[in-house]
């Protein structure tokens, strides 16, 4: 098996009752690769992402991350998730903790790092997302863009091998989207493996190594952005792109 495949999804199916959301997805992500998943709402792209760290349990198929089969009943999901960072559309910062505590809590409780070490790592990450002076602020005191950058720092504190972004900028006011995309872009440039569900075509075009277009629970088309976004082959991709790019 190729050690450089970080995420390997095979024949993934997911149903919610009668609603068959994912219909046989196969997807590999290489170490250091940035893969953007685009597609209309309801196409299953968020569900796919949530299956990669098992926030949703697949109905069928396998999800192998870093050589661990997460769908295997013997797999320690809590341990596996420490290697998979996730950033949510609604940020989901812990509102009863300061920015610093948000970044420290899992380091302390899950990785059992010392308070001093956790703090040092947290300060480094807060500096990296440009919010070192906000370490004592509570989430309610921060803008959406600041909250999302803290959430990215919180995920990075676990030193994950892969980062999942679930529409990380969709809940933001338009003027705050840029600061979050900038952090994501710098992460990509530093070689982080990223799986990004997004509506930001500009970001996908300039940062992604590969773009995956999903519709109706299947992967319709994938390839480098120059192909999928600039010169799509499939009719469904073309009509989706023309509706998002020309509004």
């Amino acid at each position: 098996m190729n050690a450089d495949i970080v995420v390997n999804v095979t024949n993934l199916n997911k149903s919610f009752g009668d609603n068959h959301v994912l219909r046989g997805i196969d997807l590999q992500v290489q170490r250091g690769e940035v893969v953007c998943i685009i597609g209309p709402s309801g196409s299953g792209k968020s569900t796919l992402l949530r299956c990669v760290n098992m926030l949703e349990t697949p109905t069928a198929g396998t999800v192998v991350v870093l050589g661990r089969d997460l769908t295997d009943i013997d797999c320690d999901l809590d341990e596996a998730r420490t290697h998979i960072g996730m950033v949510f559309q609604q940020f989901n910062l812990f509102p009863h903790m300061t920015a610093l505590e948000n970044v420290c809590v899992a380091q302390r409780k899950v990785l059992k790092r010392s308070a001093a070490e956790a703090k040092e790592i947290a300060h480094g990450l807060l500096a990296r997302v440009g919010l070192v002076e906000k370490d004592n602020a509570y989430p309610a005191q921060l803008s959406g863009g600041q909250q999302q950058r803290i959430a990215i720092a919180r995920a990075l504190a676990m030193k994950p091998d892969v980062m999942l972004f679930d529409e990380a900028t969709s809940a933001l006011d338009p003027e705050l989207v840029g600061e979050v995309l900038q952090v994501m872009q710098s992460l990509a440039h530093e070689g982080m493996t990223m799986l990004v569900v997004t509506h930001e075509m500009g970001f996908a075009k300039s940062v992604a190594d590969r773009v995956v277009f999903m519709d109706g629970g299947v992967i319709v088309e994938q390839g480098p952005p120059s192909q999928v976004i600039s010169a799509p082959v499939e009719e469904r991709t073309r009509s989706f792109l023309s509706s998002v790019l020309n509004h």
């Binding site: 809590d78 998730r81 420490t82 996730m86 949510f88 989901n92 812990f94 809590v105 899950v110 995920a155």
Partner: protein, 263 residues
């Protein structure tokens, strides 16, 4: 000339004010205050109630309340978590328990557990405080379980997902992330439950009491029998108020504060 709508409303308000003040004046004028004071508030009997009403009776009421609340909150948390569990028998058990103990009057539960069980089994309550406090806490836990469950459910689902995505176990996420947030939501209603418990301890005296375990209500009742005057009950009522009013004011203050914070 017909009055306009707004003028009519204005005059109507004046009439309401004047009518309510008039009724109050009539009541004050026609009550026989001397007789009422003589039967319900005789100063020498008031003085006789102290200090025992505080050092013995109120103390017992507080002991029953604290025991009932401690038991109620522990079992309440357990049943709340069971109702939220993915394991169905847990949910069924907790739901059945909650329905049963919320559906039966406390007085009946007290009699069944306090008298019925000893008669049926030959087993005796080792301690008169527990005999009253355990049935009380079983009923309280049913109410508190629902309060706690509602508080936990009010924490957005994304909080649990974020905690799990960081590698926390379900239990760790509950303790570190969910319950601290739920607590903020449930402290005001839980304080209300505490006030209800203070008052409900007055039912425990139906189980029979020794001189040492008399609670406030029983103390007042026995005082009425001894003095042939209602004053001891009035004093007991005032002592209840002295305990409950600060707490209800505290709840009102907490609710105003959360309202202001969420603005």
């Amino acid at each position: 000339m017909a009055l306009s709508k707004r003028k009519k409303a204005m005059y109507m308000r004046y009439v309401m004010y004047i009518a309510s003040i008039a009724i109050l004046v009539v009541v004050i004028l026609f009550i026989d205050w001397g007789r009422l004071g003589n039967a319900m508030f005789r100063w020498n009997i008031v003085k006789d109630q102290f200090p025992n009403i505080l050092t013995k009776a109120a103390k017992n009421t507080v002991v029953f309340t604290v025991l009932g609340f401690t038991g109620g909150i522990s079992f309440g948390l357990l049943f709340a978590l069971m109702r939220l569990s993915t394991i169905r028998p847990y949910r069924w058990f907790a739901a059945t328990y909650i329905e049963i103990f919320r559906g039966i009057p406390l007085l009946v539960t007290l009699l069944i557990l306090g008298f019925g069980i000893p008669i049926a089994t030959g087993w005796h309550w080792p301690n008169p405080y527990l005999q009253g406090a355990i049935p009380l806490s079983l009923v309280a836990s049913a109410y508190m379980a629902e309060t706690i469950r509602a508080g936990i459910e009010a924490v957005p689902k994304g909080q649990m997902e974020a905690a799990r995505s960081l590698g926390m176990s379900y239990a760790r996420a509950m303790i570190t992330i969910i319950i601290p947030q739920a607590l903020r939501i449930i402290v005001p209603p839980l304080t209300n439950e505490f006030v209800l418990l203070i008052k409900d301890t007055s039912l425990i005296s139906v189980l029979g009491v020794t001189a040492a375990t008399k609670d406030l209500a029983r103390f007042g009742r026995d005082g009425v029998n001894q003095t042939a005057n209602a004053t001891p009950l009035i004093v007991a009522g005032l002592v209840y108020l002295a305990m409950t009013l600060p707490l209800t004011q505290l709840v009102a203050w907490m609710e105003r504060r959360t309202k202001a914070a969420s603005r």
